[in-house]
């Protein structure tokens, strides 16, 4: 295709999208001259370019639309009818462009219907608000003739002449008169059509030169090359690891850093605002509201949230479909709304935001909500569930049936939705990109659909596992935890008939043997009872994948599978590992299917669904009793082990209770004086360890492990107790492990101990990855800090602005939306944080980064995995603080 034409097509299609959106906005806000100017300019440009490229049909259409819009500009009233006609014209132009793209020729055909409608409206308005142009004409007009009849959109020479005379004359320059001066005359309100709108574009070229248009193929190719580079780098690193002392190490490290940065930059070029996928929606909603006779307001939030364009492409259609659904099924008619005491106008709210490595898109409406009864009836009619099954299900699970294939709740099938290829297709599309859809609905108040999708498909973090002698990659995002199982121990696989399950914290986890699922494993049941279980979550379903071995995690470049392999549901793609071999990437969705949808108990599913929203804020807590009937709790993540030991094994030495434990002496500390170390029977212990040291807290009884939000409501004066919180509807004392550790070993941590009055230093920990947050928070706590862990810089700043002060801040550098550098600057810029020391955490450790970190005002820099280094850095900062104080 001609380069010029191709560029024209891309540009025009983009312009038309904007026109679509802007026109709808304009209709709602007809006095906004800015929007109109923008629309007018775009249409004008299209018209001009069409004329230039010799596309008369398009030029004629655009001209007619432009004329009508010109009238708007002159003050004609904006009617819905007129906007509809213009929108129809835009659609026609798009159709013609599509043909043009395929055949490289403008299709035959007439658009007299539209042009007539447009002209009619323009004339109507002309009658209403008639300007008197000729009044300004000065001088004699010589009638001029042209050799051919005028085409639509062309201006007669007479008019040109007039326009020229009306235009403010460029006095200083003696411009040649008459037709040649058509271009300068543009500044008059009359728009000639002879040339593309070059000069109109001029003010923009300065902005435009900041960015250039790059062919998508080029970008894709660049991405592929970078992927190759990443792989090659991984291979080199692997080789260097095997050699103890190699002169390649230095340069290789540099290569590695550069590659990582390159990868990041290229990934950035693929990022696009999610708003691009929303562009069509205002128009869709406008048309729908006319078609359905409903009043609908579309709110859009977070349109600037960026995600990979590959992902963007995949969610465009599902999003449109879901918005249609909300408008059609969700929102009521104006009368119904009034009857229900709601405003006549229904609202559909689209919002997008980042959360961890995901982007969340919500489609919420304030309509009638999902009709649980109807869904139930339909599920029974379609044979998806029985009445008794449904009776036992929580509402949220019943609502999920709308995602079942061929499920449509629309009582009457409209042209808008309800054709039976609805939500299941949506779910499918989103599944394909590793995302999930959830629905929450309250009858009478509306529904919220939540789409959770990965930011990018190209590079993911994966856990490499082995099953049946082959290695596979499991996307890290789906993995909740790893459990090691062994025959004849507590952690073992049990069977209900032939179904393998695992008892995991008082719940039954359905299991699937990967080797057997993939027909790789011919071994008998008995011999496979030791191995690892990858606890995996897909949507609200949790299950375990039994594998033979677990290696490590690796950043892998996802490559699409060959078409010949795509039918295998268990895999989502393949990749090349650092050692050069190809391995398959497991698709947790596909495996979940194999596990079967029945295996997750309804109760578990509903609990998970309810938890999903607040998962972040929840902590696993160990409940126990010690010295009083009132329960006490400690965050489970701090506890290394729970032990029940025979009381007679506890020895008393030098006034302290000691226990021989795993080859060393472990001190026993009582939570309070009311706890009696038993002399016979068994003693319950909570074991805490850090490196080589272990200590145990003696308690009366271990009660339970619960997941709950840990918010200490009443701080405590009593040493060793952080405060009280409501856990499982009971007031519970949260114990302060940091208080007990130094009792066992006086030097457990010096920094914390020096703070005699029990005033623990407050530490703000900002890290976007939940994994690192969970990993490091206990470390920081154990180092004697009162830790506030947050997922992003914005939240941190909000706290600061709310008047909270911290003694020290530890922040990740690489975070979405607000990175560590920006955060450091913001903290130091705020009065509550001006001299707070900040320690940077990063996975990048090049000298350049370190230099940048120092420059940005960080007090220290620690590599992400360097636990010891972090504690040391904290000690150093604390020591300085102590001196200052």
């Amino acid at each position: 295709m001609d380069d010029l034409l191709r560029e024209f097509l891309t540009e025009t299609n983009e312009s038309l999208d904007v026109v679509n959106v802007e026109l709808v906005r304009f209709e709602q806000d007809p006095n906004n001259a800015k929007i109109l100017d923008n629309v007018f300019r775009l249409v004008h440009t299209i018209k001009g370019t069409c004329g230039f490229l010799g596309l008369p049909r398009l030029a004629t259409l655009a001209h007619a639309a432009e004329t009508l819009m010109g009238k708007f500009r002159d003050g004609m009233t904006v009617t819905g009818e007129a906007v509809t006609v213009i929108l129809a014209t835009i659609d026609r132009i798009k159709e013609i462009l599509d043909v043009l793209e395929q055949s490289h020729r403008e299709p035959e055909g007439a658009d007299s219907d539209l042009i007539e409608a447009l002209d009619r409206m323009a004339v109507q308005s002309a009658a209403a608000a008639n300007p008197q142009p000729s009044a300004h004409t000065v001088g004699t007009l010589i009638p001029q003739t042209l050799e051919r009849p005028l085409q639509t959109g062309e201006v007669s020479l007479d008019e040109l002449e007039r326009a020229f005379r009306e235009a403010p004359g460029p006095e200083a320059h003696g411009r040649p008169a008459a037709p040649a001066a058509a271009s300068p005359a543009r500044s008059a309100a009359i728009a000639p059509a002879k040339e593309p709108a070059k000069d109109e574009d001029k003010p923009e070229t300065k902005v435009a030169s900041q960015s250039i248009r790059v062919n998508l193929d080029t970008l894709e190719k660049l991405m592929t090359m970078v992927s190759e580079l990443v792989l090659t780098r991984n291979q080199l690193l692997e080789m260097a690891r095997r050699q103890t002392d190699s002169e390649f190490k230095g340069p290789l490290q540099r290569l590695s850093n550069v590659t990582a940065e390159l990868q990041e930059s290229v990934m950035k070029t693929r990022m696009q605002p999610v708003g691009n996928a929303w562009q069509k929606l205002p128009r869709v909603v406008r048309d729908l509201s006319a078609e359905l006779g409903k009043q609908i307001e579309l709110e859009m939030h977070g349109a600037e949230t960026e995600l990979d364009r590959q992902v963007l492409d995949k969610i465009k259609d599902p999003l449109t479909h879901m918005v249609r659904n909300s408008a059609d099924h969700g929102l009521e008619t104006p009368q119904e709304r009034l009857d229900a005491g709601k405003p006549e106008k229904g609202t559909i709210r689209l919002s997008a935001y980042h959360e961890g490595g995901h982007i969340i898109i919500e489609i919420a409406d304030d309509g009638r909500g999902l009709d649980t009864q109807k869904i139930k009836a339909n599920a029974i009619a379609k044979g998806l569930a029985t009445q008794s099954e449904l009776d036992k299900m929580p509402e949220a699970q019943i609502h999920r049936y709308i995602f079942a294939p061929g499920f449509s709740t629309a009582a009457k099938v409209t042209s808008v939705s309800g054709r039976g290829v609805g939500m299941d297709v949506v779910l499918n599309n989103i599944d394909q990109i590793g995302g999930s859809v959830d629905v929450k609905s309250i009858a009478g108040e509306g529904s919220i659909f939540t789409i959770k999708i990965p930011l990018t498909l190209a590079i993911i973090s994966a856990l490499i596992i082995e099953a049946g002698g082959e290695r596979f990659a499991v996307p890290q995002l789906a993995v909740i935890e790893l459990v090691r199982v062994k025959n004849n121990t507590e952690q073992r696989i049990e069977y209900i008939k032939d179904t393998p399950v695992l008892r995991l914290r008082n719940k039954l986890l359905p299991l699937v043997h990967l080797g057997r699922l993939l027909s790789l494993d011919s071994r008998t049941e008995k011999s496979v009872e030791s191995g690892f279980i990858v606890v995996t979550q897909v949507g609200s379903r949790v299950f375990g994948i039994v594998v033979d071995g677990v290696f490590h995690t690796e950043e892998i470049v996802v490559k699409p599978m060959a078409t010949k392999l795509r039918h295998i549901a268990a895999f989502s793609g393949n990749t090349i590992l650092g050692d050069g071999s190809v391995i398959m990437i497991l698709d947790p969705n596909g495996i979940a299917e194999a596990v079967g949808s029945n295996t997750t108990s309804a109760a578990l599913a509903s609990e998970q669904a309810a938890d999903a929203a607040q998962n972040e804020a929840r902590t696993s807590l160990l409940l126990f009793r010690a010295g009083s009937p009132q329960p006490k709790a400690v965050p489970l993540s701090l506890v290394t082990r729970l032990e029940e030991v025979e009381a007679r094994k506890i020895e008393l030495s030098n006034g302290r209770h000691l226990l021989q434990y795993r080859g060393q002496l472990m001190p026993l500390i009582r939570v309070n004086d009311a706890v009696r170390i038993r002399e016979d029977g068994t003693q319950s212990l909570l074991v805490f360890s850090d490196g080589m040291r272990c200590m145990a807290l003696a308690v009366d009884e271990i009660v339970d492990i619960v997941e709950d939000r840990l918010s200490i409501e009443i701080p405590s004066e009593q040493p060793g107790i952080l405060g009280s919180a409501v856990i499982k509807n009971e007031a519970t004392e949260i114990i302060d492990v940091g208080f007990f550790l130094p009792q066992a070993f006086a030097d457990w941590f010096r920094g914390g101990e020096k703070n005699a009055a029990g005033a623990r230093r407050s530490l703000l920990f900002v890290e976007d990855s939940a994994f690192f947050r969970n990993m490091l928070t206990p470390v920081l706590r154990a180092a004697g800090y009162d830790v506030t862990a947050l997922g992003g810089g914005e939240e941190a700043l909000a706290l600061l602005k709310a008047g909270k002060r911290f003694d020290i801040v530890v922040s990740d550098l690489e975070m979405p939306t607000m990175d560590g550098f920006a955060l450091a600057q913001a903290i130091h810029g705020h009065k509550n944080g001006a001299d707070t020391p900040i320690i940077a955490l990063s996975s990048m450790t090049s000298p350049e980064v370190i230099a940048r970190v120092r420059q940005a005002g960080f007090h220290d820099f620690v590599a992400k995995f360097d636990r010891q280094g972090l504690v040391a850095a904290l000690k150093e900062q604390s020591a300085e603080l102590n001196q200052a104080a």
Partner: protein, 155 residues
Amino acid sequence: MTMNDDAPENETEYVTVLIGQQLFGLPIERVHDVFMPGNLTPVPLASPEIAGVLNLRGRIVTAIDMRRRLGLPDREDKSEAMAVGIDCDGESYGLVIDSVGEVLRLGEQTREPVPVNLDERLARVANCVHRLEHELLVVLDIARLLDLRPSAKAA
């Protein structure tokens, strides 16, 4: 691709390969390279013709076991197999064969239609047969060769 392998008056160049004693021809312009299919990763649950996937200079290549594809018995000695690299619809495939022969330029005069009594599995992927001096060469149709099974294609 400017060359047309079926043009009657033109001669066509074929890469000849040996699969289970039989000589086959692949249009030379479709053949990218010839390589040893080392470090093959099997793909569980894939159709039996798929020998696995492998890394060929950073590209993931799907290897197809030609013996299985043509309904011939499996090779006993897998170590010395060769593969012919081809591209189809933007994806890379490796046809695993016994050995690679020479390049032949063949014209219309030796060309014969596929015999009607040929084994159905072979006939489905054969384009024509050329009468060579000492043996017969079966020209394979790459598109049909890669059309493993309708269900897989639809998926």
